[in-house]
C-alpha cells in the first residue's frame, strides 16, 4: 500500500503536508538554483573573451558612509581592481580593506537578478521575479491609496544619512509626498557629539577635527584607526602625526576599555573601566583649572558658564579630583595628572570623545568638548572645527505639505504603534547594530507593506514584500558628501564605472519616477540632478576640482590671501573637469570665525553641561558579573553589504578572529570561568543569550566581556554569519537626550558551551 494514500484513495492530511512541503521546497530550490545559475552565467560571460584592453576610471567607495574616491581598473570593461583616487583629498590614492573588497560587493553571487515580489509568508524566502513596470506600479498604487485616504504620514523610510544628491532627493521626495517619517542612520559617527555641538556651540552638525595639524591626540574610546570618519584619511593623519613633520613627532594616546587595534597602534594605551570616560575627561579639566593650564583668554572671551557657584569650574573642582576619579575609572591619579599636563603643553592638542557604533552619551561628548574649549582648541588649528557648508545647489522647494525628518530613536516606537502602513528601507545597517534589535523586527512585522531597495537578501530585504534592487555603487551615477571630517567641504561624484550587470535600477531613478507622479521633480534622470546641484559649486567661485596635493596646497594658499583662480569658464567645462577628477574640494579653513562657529543665543561657547542621567547597568552584579563592552571593527563598521569573504577573513586580526562573532576575555577572568582560547561560550544578558567563540586576550580587562556587534545578521548571503539572535539583541536599549543608543548599559555572564563551537 502506498504510504501516501489510504484504502479509500483519499489523501491523508500528513501525506498532503509532506507533498506540499516537498513541492514547495522543490519549487523554491529550483527557482533559487535557476536564479543562481543565471546570475553566475551573467558574471561568467563577461570574463576572459575580450582583447584584454586595460582602462581606468573613477568611482566612489560606498562600503561605508565616508565616500572616499576610487580608481577602478577595468579589463575589457570589467572591474578588476579598486584603488584610491589619487586626487581625492580623503583617499589620496589609498583605500582601506573595505574599499579593496568593494569588488566583492559588485560580484556578490547572492545579488538579486532584478525586482522580486514575496509569494510566501513573510520571511519564508519565497520570491517571484517581476518586471520593473509592475513593481513600480504596485508601489505607486500603494502610495496613491495612502495619499487619497489622507494618510501620507503612514509612510516611513529608513535610510542611511546621506547629504549628497540621493539623500537630498529622498528627503525632498518625502517632503513632497507629505510624510515626516524619514529615519536617517549613521553608525560611524556618534550622535552625542552632534548633540554636544548643538549644546555648546548652537551648531546642529557633527564636529570636524583638524588632525592634520594636531601634535597630540587624546582619544576617549574613539576608534580612530577602525570604523570612524574616513579610514583612509585617518590612516594618513596617523602617519603624518608620527612622521609627517621633520621637526616634530606627535603623540597619540588611546583611552579605552580594551586593547583595540587603535590602542595597539597608539603611543600609549590607558585602560579604563567601561562607561567612566566622562569622569576621566572632567578630571583632566580639573587638573587644567587647578594648575592654571587652561586657555584663560579663550575661556574669558568666548565661553559662558565657566564661573559661578554652579559653573563649570566649580563643578569639576568639587566633583572630579583625580584621586576620586582614579577609584572610578581605574586610571591612577598620577596618570591623570600627566595626561592633563601633556594635553596642555603639546598644543595643538585635541581630545576625541566619539564612540561608535553605540554612543558614549551626550555627557561624555560634552565633557570632551568642554575639555577642548578649556585647552583653547576649539576652532583653532589642530583642534575641533565646525564644518564649512558645501555649496551644492539645493533641490527646489515644493509646494506640497511635508515635515522635517524625524529623530531615529522613535523608529521602533512608531512601527510598534501600528500607524505605519508602508515602509521603505534603503539601508538595513540600523537593523544590525540597534540594541534589542528583535523589538525593531517585531515592530516592523506590523507594517503591511515593506519595500526594500537592497541588492541582496539582507536583514531588511528578507522580510520585505517587494524588493527593488539598487545598482551596485560601481554601476551607478553617484555622489558623496562625507559627514564632517576635517571641516573643509568635499564632494565626490562619478559616472558609472561599468554598465549594470543585472536587472537593477538606480534608487535615485526610482525616486524620480515616483516623484513625477507628484509633479515634484523636473529632472529627466539622476545625472541631470547631479548637474543641477553641481551648479552651486560652479557659482560659489571657490575651491575647485579634486587635484594633487600640490595644487590643493596652492589653492589653499591663494584663498588664504583672498585669491581664487577659476578652473573653467563655463559650467560645462567645469562639469567635465569635476567628473574627470572625481569631485570638488575647497581646501581652506579659516580659524576663529567666532560668529560662524558660535551660534548660541549668547554668541559664546556654553559650558553649562547637560543634566547627568544616572544610567544603572542592566543586570544584577551577582548574577551577571561581567560588564559588556561592545565594539566594531574596521571591516564591519558602517558596512552595508557584509557578504564579502575578504572582510570576513579579516574581522579581528589582533586575535586572529574570522567569520564569526567573538568575545574577548581577560586571561584571569577566562581562567576563573574555566574557558580556554577558542572555546565556544554562551553570552547571557538579562535579555537573552547568544553563542560565540571566546578569545583569551591580555588586552581585555578583568571582568569585562568585549564583544563584536553588528556582524551577525538574521539574513544574508552565503558568506554572512546568520543567527536568529545576535549580540545586538543582548544589549539593553538605553538612550540619553540624543536618542542615540548607549554603549555601556548591560551586564552579562559567560558560560562554556558544550559540544564545541
Amino acid at each position: 500500500m502506498n504510504a501516501t494514500t489510504n484504502t479509500s484513495g483519499r489523501v491523508s492530511r500528513r501525506a498532503f503536508l509532506k507533498f506540499a512541503a516537498f513541492t514547495g521546497a522543490g519549487i523554491t530550490l529550483g527557482r533559487c538554483l535557476r536564479d543562481y545559475a543565471l546570475q553566475h552565467e551573467v558574471f561568467r560571460q563577461r570574463w576572459g573573451e575580450g582583447p584584454g584592453l586595460e582602462t581606468f576610471t573613477l568611482s566612489i567607495c560606498r562600503q561605508c558612509p565616508a565616500g572616499c574616491g576610487l580608481r577602478v581598473r577595468l579589463v575589457d570593461g570589467d572591474a578588476k581592481k579598486l584603488d584610491g583616487n589619487p586626487l581625492c583629498p580623503l583617499a589620496r590614492g589609498t583605500t582601506c580593506p573595505k574599499g579593496q573588497a568593494g569588488l566583492q560587493a559588485l560580484y556578490n553571487p547572492d545579488r538579486l537578478l532584478g525586482p522580486v515580489k514575496r509569494v510566501g509568508p513573510r520571511g519564508s524566502g519565497r520570491w517571484q521575479r517581476i518586471r520593473w513596470n509592475d513593481a513600480l506600479a504596485e508601489v505607486q498604487s500603494k502610495l496613491s491609496a495612502l495619499r487619497t485616504a489622507g494618510h501620507p504620514q503612514a509612510l516611513a523610510w529608513i535610510a542611511e544619512r546621506d547629504d549628497a544628491t540621493q539623500g537630498q532627493l529622498i528627503r525632498r521626495w518625502m517632503h513632497a509626498y507629505g510624510s515626516p517619517h524619514l529615519f536617517e542612520f549613521v553608525d560611524t559617527r556618534d550622535a552625542a557629539a552632534r548633540a554636544a555641538m548643538k549644546l555648546c556651540q548652537g551648531v546642529d552638525e557633527f564636529p570636524a577635527y583638524d588632525l592634520e595639524h594636531a601634535h597630540y591626540i587624546l582619544s576617549f574610546g574613539t576608534p580612530v584607526l577602525e570604523a570612524w570618519l574616513s579610514p583612509t584619511w585617518l590612516a594618513r593623519q596617523y602617519g603624518r602625526l608620527h612622521r609627517g613633520r621633520a621637526d616634530y613627532r606627535g603623540r597619540f594616546v588611546q583611552i579605552e576599555a580594551r586593547l583595540s587595534p587603535t590602542a595597539v597602534k597608539a603611543d600609549e594605551w590607558i585602560p579604563v573601566n567601561p562607561g567612566t570616560e566622562t569622569a576621566l575627561a572632567l578630571a583632566l579639566a580639573h587638573v587644567l583649572i587647578r594648575e592654571d593650564l587652561y586657555d584663560r583668554a579663550l575661556v574669558a572671551d568666548h565661553t559662558t558658564g565657566f564661573d559661578g557657584d554652579d559653573g563649570f569650574r566649580a563643578l569639576v573642582l568639587r566633583d572630579y579630583a583625580p584621586d576620586d576619579v582614579a577609584q572610578r575609572t581605574g586610571v591612577p591619579a598620577t596618570t591623570i595628572l600627566r595626561l592633563a599636563r601633556e594635553l596642555a603643553t603639546n598644543k595643538p592638542a585635541v581630545a576625541l570623545g566619539e564612540q561608535v557604533p553605540l554612543s558614549g552619551g551626550v555627557v561624555l561628548a560634552w565633557a570632551v568638548h568642554a575639555l577642548n574649549a578649556l585647552n583653547g582648541m576649539v576652532d583653532r588649528a589642530g583642534g575641533v572645527l565646525t564644518q564649512r557648508a558645501l555649496p551644492l545647489k539645493p533641490l527646489a522647494e515644493t509646494t506640497l505639505p511635508g515635515g522635517a525628518p524625524a529623530a531615529p530613536a522613535a523608529l521602533t516606537e512608531l512601527l510598534a504603534g501600528g500607524t505605519v502602513e508602508a515602509l521603505f528601507v534603503s539601508s538595513s545597517r540600523c537593523c544590525a547594530v540597534a540594541p534589542e534589535g528583535g523589538k525593531l523586527f517585531a515592530a516592523a512585522e506590523k507594517v503591511p507593506f515593506i519595500v526594500s531597495f537592497s541588492s541582496a537578501l539582507d536583514d531588511s530585504a528578507a522580510f520585505a514584500d517587494l524588493i527593488l534592487p539598487d545598482h551596485a555603487p560601481l554601476e551607478k551615477w553617484q555622489d558623496a558628501a562625507p559627514l564632517p571630517v576635517h571641516g573643509r567641504p568635499v564632494w565626490a561624484v562619478s559616472a558609472p564605472a561599468l554598465e549594470p550587470l543585472l536587472d537593477t535600477r538606480h534608487i535615485g531613478e526610482v525616486v524620480l519616477e515616483l516623484g513625477r507622479s507628484l509633479g515634484a521633480f523636473p529632472w529627466k534622470d539622476f545625472p541631470a540632478v547631479l548637474r543641477f546641484v553641481a551648479a552651486g559649486l560652479f557659482e560659489a567661485r571657490r575651491g575647485g576640482p579634486f587635484s594633487t596635493s600640490y595644487e590643493t596646497a596652492w589653492t589653499n594658499q591663494l584663498e588664504t590671501g583672498g585669491w581664487w583662480i577659476p578652473s573653467a569658464k563655463t559650467f560645462d567645462e567645469f562639469w567635465e573637469q569635476v567628473l574627470k577628477a572625481g569631485g570638488w574640494f575647497d581646501p581652506i579653513y579659516t580659524y576663529e570665525q567666532w560668529p560662524r562657529v558660535l551660534r548660541t543665543a549668547s554668541g559664546k561657547l556654553e559650558l553649562g553641561g547637560p543634566p547627568k542621567i544616572q544610567q544603572p547597568w542592566i543586570g544584577d552584579e551577582r548574577e551577571f558579573p561581567l560588564k559588556l563592552h561592545v565594539f566594531t571593527t574596521l571591516t564591519t563598521g558602517g558596512l552595508n553589504d557584509p557578504n564579502q569573504p575578504f572582510l570576513q577573513e579579516t574581522l579581528g586580526p589582533h586575535v586572529h578572529a574570522r567569520w564569526e562573532d567573538w568575545v574577548e576575555l581577560n586571561p584571569q577572568t577566562a581562567q576563573r570561568l574555566g574557558i580556554a582560547n577558542g572555546d565556544g561560550v554562551w553570552l547571557e544578558s538579562p535579555l537573552g543569550k547568544a553563542r560565540l567563540r571566546a578569545y583569551v586576550f591580555a588586552g581585555a580587562q578583568p571582568d569585562v566581556a568585549s564583544v563584536l556587534i553588528g556582524h551577525a545578521h538574521r539574513a544574508g548571503g552565503a558568506f554572512v554569519q546568520r543567527t536568529a539572535r545576535g549580540v545586538a539583541d543582548l544589549v539593553a536599549y538605553r538612550t540619553d537626550a540624543t536618542g542615540a543608543p548607549l554603549a555601556a548599559t548591560t551586564r552579562v555572564r559567560i558560560t562554556k558551551a558544550t559540544g564545541g563551537p
Binding site: 603624518r240 609627517g244 583662480i565
Partner: protein, 420 residues
C-alpha cells in the same frame, strides 16, 4: 646668428598704453600662474612642497625668502642645480629640461610666489588689529556690532569680513577722500598704517565682523599688464614716474621704491593708503578728481607695482667679463672665433638669444656640464644677485651688431632689447 631678443608673445609681451613715452618700461609677465602648472608638470613638486603640503626632500617654496629680479631668480635656480641633480640621481629622476617659454613661465611664477602670493598668505594678527582699530579711531565712525548704526558716520563693517583683503583695501581706498574730510571735521589725525598694521586690521575685521553663515568672496589675482594700463588710464603716471619715465619731479619714482612695493598685497595697500592722504589733498588743490578703483582694479595695480622691477636694468658688461673668468666659464667656453675648448663658443653660438634663452640653455646643459667640471676640478659657479645680469650683458656684448626691434606688432610690442 640671432642678435635681437625675441618676442615671447604670451609671457614677455609688452603692452603699450596710449600714453606716449620717450622710453618704454620693462616687459611684464602676462600670467604668473601659468608657471604654477609648469612647476607640477616638470616634477618640481616631487621635491618642493608649497604651503601646507607634507614635508618633501627640498625646501618648501614658502620658506625660500629671496628677493630679486628675473635673472636673480634664474641665478638662484642655477646655484641649486648640482644639489638638485644629486638628489634626483638618488631617486632616479631625470632633471627637467625646459623650453625658453617654460623657463619664463617658471621664473614668473617663482617671482609671483615669492613676492606676491606667499606673503599674502601670512594672515595678520587679529588681536593686534583690534588695537589698531581702536588706536586709529576707526570705531568713531564705523560699527562692527550692527548692520546699521545711525550714530556712526561711516558704514557698518559687518559684511565686509567675507570679502577678500584686497577688496577691503580697495573699499578703504575709495572712501579715503571722504574719510579724510571727516577726520578734518572731527579734528582727528589722519590715520597712517605702518608695517603690518593694515594686514592686522583686515584680519581683525574678518574675525570680528563676520556674518554667521557667509562664505568668503575671492578675487582673481591681479594682472601686471592690466595694472600698467590702469596706471596710465587712472592718471597715476602723471605724478608717479616709473624708472624716470613720466611723473612729476617732486613725486616719488615708484621704480625706485622696491623695498616698499615688494611686500604683501595688504602691506602695499597700507603704503598706498598712507600716501593717499597727502595725494588727495594735492589732487583737490589741483581740482583733479580722486582716483577710485572698481572690480579687480586695485589688485591689478598692485600686481603691476610688484613687477615693475621684474626685468633687470642693463647689466655691467665689464663686470660680466670679470665674472666670466672668475667663475670658471672661460675654462670651457671660448668667446673669440676659432677657439674651441670644451663647451660651445659663446661668441658665435646661436643659443645666445634673449636672457631667457641664455638661462634656459644654461639650465638644460647644467646636467652635462657638472661631471666635466668635477673632472677638471672646477667648482660649481654660483651667482650673487646682480651677477647673472652682468654676465649676460657681457655675452651680449660679444655679439657685435646692434640689437633691433622686432618688426612684427611693432606698435604694441617691444623687445626687451629696445627697452635698454
Amino acid at each position: 646668428m640671432k642678435r635681437s631678443w625675441p618676442l615671447r608673445p604670451i609671457v614677455l609681451s609688452l603692452v603699450l598704453s596710449g600714453h606716449a613715452r620717450a622710453e618704454e618700461p620693462a616687459p611684464l609677465p602676462e600670467d604668473p600662474m601659468a608657471g604654477a602648472r609648469l612647476f607640477q608638470q616638470k616634477g618640481c613638486v616631487r621635491c618642493h612642497a608649497v604651503g601646507e603640503e607634507e614635508t618633501k626632500l627640498g625646501p618648501n617654496l614658502a620658506r625660500i625668502h629671496r628677493r630679486g629680479s628675473l635673472l636673480d631668480v634664474a641665478g638662484a635656480m642655477w646655484n641649486h642645480a648640482p644639489m638638485m641633480h644629486a638628489k634626483m640621481a638618488e631617486l632616479y629622476i631625470a632633471p627637467p629640461q625646459l623650453a625658453s617659454q617654460e623657463m619664463a613661465n617658471l621664473i614668473a611664477f617663482l617671482t609671483a610666489y615669492q613676492y606676491y602670493l606667499t606673503q599674502v598668505g601670512q594672515p595678520g594678527n587679529p588681536d593686534r588689529g583690534r588695537a589698531v582699530f581702536a588706536a586709529k579711531n576707526c570705531a568713531k565712525c564705523h560699527s562692527l556690532e550692527r548692520e546699521a548704526d545711525f550714530e556712526k558716520v561711516g558704514p557698518s563693517l559687518r559684511g565686509y569680513a567675507r570679502l577678500s583683503p584686497i577688496q577691503i583695501a580697495q573699499a578703504m581706498w575709495n572712501h579715503g577722500p571722504a574719510m579724510a574730510e571727516e577726520f578734518r571735521k572731527l579734528n582727528l589725525a589722519q590715520p597712517n598704517l605702518a608695517g603690518t598694521e593694515m594686514t592686522d586690521l583686515l584680519a581683525y575685521l574678518q574675525r570680528a565682523a563676520g556674518p554667521t553663515d557667509a562664505e568668503p568672496v575671492y578675487v582673481e589675482p591681479g594682472s601686471p599688464n592690466r595694472g600698467r594700463l590702469l596706471f596710465d588710464q587712472k592718471g597715476c603716471v602723471r605724478c608717479h614716474a616709473i624708472r624716470g619715465v613720466g611723473g612729476l619731479p617732486e613725486v616719488p619714482d615708484l621704480g625706485k621704491r622696491r623695498e616698499e612695493l615688494v611686500r604683501s598685497v595688504t602691506e602695499v595697500a597700507g603704503f598706498m593708503w598712507n600716501h593717499g592722504v597727502a595725494m588727495w589733498d594735492k589732487m583737490r588743490a589741483r581740482q583733479v578728481p580722486a582716483v577710485k578703483f572698481a572690480g579687480n582694479e586695485m589688485a591689478d595695480i598692485i600686481a603691476y607695482l610688484y613687477f615693475i622691477n621684474y626685468f633687470d636694468k642693463p647689466g655691467d658688461a665689464a663686470h660680466g667679463q670679470t665674472l666670466f673668468t672668475q667663475k670658471g666659464c672661460a675654462r670651457c667656453h671660448a668667446v673669440t672665433p676659432g677657439a674651441a675648448p670644451v663647451g660651445p663658443n659663446l661668441g658665435t653660438s646661436s643659443l645666445v638669444g634673449s636672457p631667457i634663452d641664455i638661462i634656459t640653455a644654461m639650465w638644460n646643459h647644467a646636467k652635462a656640464m657638472e661631471p666635466v667640471m668635477r673632472v677638471q676640478g672646477i667648482p660649481w659657479p654660483k651667482f650673487e644677485p646682480g651677477e647673472m645680469t652682468d654676465l649676460i650683458e657681457f655675452i651680449y656684448a660679444l655679439h657685435a651688431p646692434p640689437r633691433v626691434a622686432a618688426p612684427a606688432r611693432a606698435t604694441t610690442e617691444r623687445t626687451t632689447h629696445e627697452v635698454k
